[in-house]
Symmetry: C2
Subunit: 82 residues, 2 copies
C-alpha cells in the first residue's frame, strides 16, 4: 500500500475538524463548553477542529457522543475517500 | 457529560479490535502482512486487535483503507452505543 502523503493526512484531519466545527456550531455549543464537558483542554480541542491534532479513537467517540451524532457524520466517509 | 468508565473505554476498544480481526481474517491477511503494508509494527497492531491500544484516527483510516472496508463497518456503531 502506498503510504499516505502528508497532504492526504492533513486533508483527512482538516475534513474531520471542519465537520466537528459545523456540527458543534449547529448545536450552539462553544469550544470551551465541549472541551470542558469531555475533559479535554480547550487548546487540545481547538487543535482538533483546525486539523492539527491526530486524535485518538476514544476521544473521537467521546466528542461524537456529546454532540449526539454518529461517527459516520463526523467522518463523512465519502469526503475521506477522495 | 459523565466521563467514560474505564470498563466502557475497554469495551469500545475491544469491539473495535474484534471487528478488525474478523474482517482481516475474512480477507485472509495475516497480522504481519497488514502491519507491514501500513507501516505499523506487528506488536502495535496486535495490541489494536486485542483492544489494548487507543489508536489514532489516521491509523484507523489507514487500516480500513487497506482492508477495503468502511470505517462504519469497523466501528459497528450500534455496538459502540450500548
Amino acid at each position: 500500500m502506498k503510504p499516505f502523503r502528508k497532504s492526504e493526512e492533513e486533508a483527512i484531519l482538516n475534513t474531520l475538524g471542519k465537520n466537528l466545527k459545523k456540527l458543534r456550531e449547529e448545536k450552539r455549543i462553544s469550544q470551551e463548553q465541549l472541551a470542558f464537558e469531555i475533559g479535554l483542554s480547550r487548546s487540545y480541542y481547538t487543535e482538533v477542529e483546525t486539523g492539527q491534532r491526530n486524535l485518538s479513537i476514544l476521544n473521537l467517540v467521546k466528542i461524537t457522543r456529546f454532540l449526539g451524532v454518529e461517527l459516520s457524520e463526523i467522518l463523512k466517509l465519502e469526503d475521506l475517500k477522495k
